[in-house]
Symmetry: C2
Subunit: 246 residues, 2 copies
DNA sequence: TCTCCGATTTGAACGTGTTCAACTTTCGGA
DNA sequence: TCCGAAAGTTGAACACGTTCAAATCGGAGA
């Protein structure tokens, strides 16, 4: 997974240090930790969030309940391990897409579709996941400090996408586009989670329609007539999400 | 509260029947039910969601725990009562705004600000609330069947706002604008919940900036140059949220 | 080899949301 | 007035997430 190479934008050194330290750590503690994570991920995937009890996870990992709490402060914390697993897979799938030389829109659509594909087997679970992620204090929240690594990892995908595109667009929009696309992806996930059509085909249809529209909007941003629209939109974005903020 | 008079757009007759039936019902059961609701609302407001136990609610209402479950399937169900209470207050505050003769933008901003005002004392609680509402199956979910009444009540506000505005705009957009504004309000709530600035002043700043921008966009929709932007956007909206759906 | 001390592990215990079989109250009709 | 069914009510019991004092382990130093 070359994906890890994208973590190297100096962010939250503590968490990164911890992750790096863990990767090399083969001590007893780390083995236990990973056994718990593996069991949790498997059982979450098989039976969903609520049906998977901490006792079941501990038993499956061959440890006691209390031991699981030595490594994870709460059941919710195990959810972010599940999330990280899927994000790693998404990143791996996205790599060849970014390397490919197709258009901005095609690649954006491919990235979004791969995201849906990765999550597809866990549609039911994702419903609970989003409920946990939506509460502000939660470490799994996409806006939380704890997930800033995951967030920058995700935005880095769109950053690379935008940087490698030659589509003409407003330069200020270009600077902000990665964040906007990340936001759009977030919205798409929320939509997908609530999409009850078989196979979530409606979400896929929305992607097919939305991406060309976005491409059109981005292209239009460089035209004089759309200047006020673009500028005012970016001003609003600056108020909503200041560039200085994490 | 003249607000109730806006419920009369034939929606989900079952739920409405139940609500109407309850309003007139003074039987013992209904009294118990309301005692539980009152206790739950008060305790939620005082101590938040998790700190308020079902045992505390039941004790406060002077009933047994099991009795509370005779009227409400789960603790979460009591949350929607809390939500309804606040929505009723919002509706009452919005009434004079809609009656007033100010501009579209001014009234929209006032509506949104009143919404924030109503929720302001419960910012911490709202964090949990949104976590519950975000999970797809939940009856509190803004997209759920159970909350279709509340949803139509909310959109009816924006419907009246749009109907009574003389701002020139694309007719198709006008037809869809109420739903779009409802969606925008939803996004604003999510933003507000995550806003940790003191008094959520950033959210208020966003409203101040976003509303004029929306007003500008709406006005622009009738111009020829923006036709493709408008039309394609509405096509996308039709895919995302078909008019035929509830 | 022995002795510590921190890291790890345990399982019983607590408080919670929720369920349920049994009990009590209400009230329309004989 | 009485009966029976429906509505309402109870509290003990269950399963769960979480906590914690105590037990165990493992390796660095004497």
């Amino acid at each position: 997974m070359g994906s890890v190479t994208h973590t190297d934008n100096g962010s939250s050194p503590a968490a990164e240090q911890a992750a790096r330290g863990r990767a090399a750590d083969t001590s007893r503690g780390e083995q236990t930790r990973q056994a718990i994570v593996a069991s949790a991920i498997r059982l979450f995937g098989e039976a969903g969030y609520e049906k998977t009890t901490m006792r079941a996870i501990a038993a499956d990992a061959g440890v006691s309940v209390g031991n699981a709490y030595y490594y994870f402060p709460a059941k919710e914390a195990l959810v972010s391990e599940f999330y990280l697993e899927l994000q790693r897979e998404h990143l791996a799938r996205v790599e060849p897409i970014l390397a490919g030389g197709t258009s901005f829109g095609d690649r954006l659509a491919a990235i979004l579709r791969e995201g849906i594909e990765v999550w597809a087997p866990h549609h039911a679970f994702a419903g609970r996941f989003i409920g946990i992620a939506a509460v502000p204090g939660s470490p799994v929240s996409p806006f939380s400090e704890e997930s800033s690594d995951a967030r920058e990892l995700a935005t880095s995908i769109f950053h690379r996408l935008v940087d490698s595109t030659e589509t003409k667009m407003d330069p200020q929009l270009r600077a902000r586009l990665p964040q906007l696309l990340w936001l759009a992806q977030l919205g798409l996930v929320v939509y997908w989670v609530h999409d009850t059509t078989p196979g979530q085909r409606r979400t896929r249809a929305v992607v097919d329609l939305a991406v060309p529209y976005l491409e059109y909007l981005v292209g239009a941003s460089r035209m004089k007539i759309f200047k006020p629209l673009t500028t005012r939109g970016l001003t609003l974005l600056e108020a909503v999400w200041p560039r200085t903020a994490a």
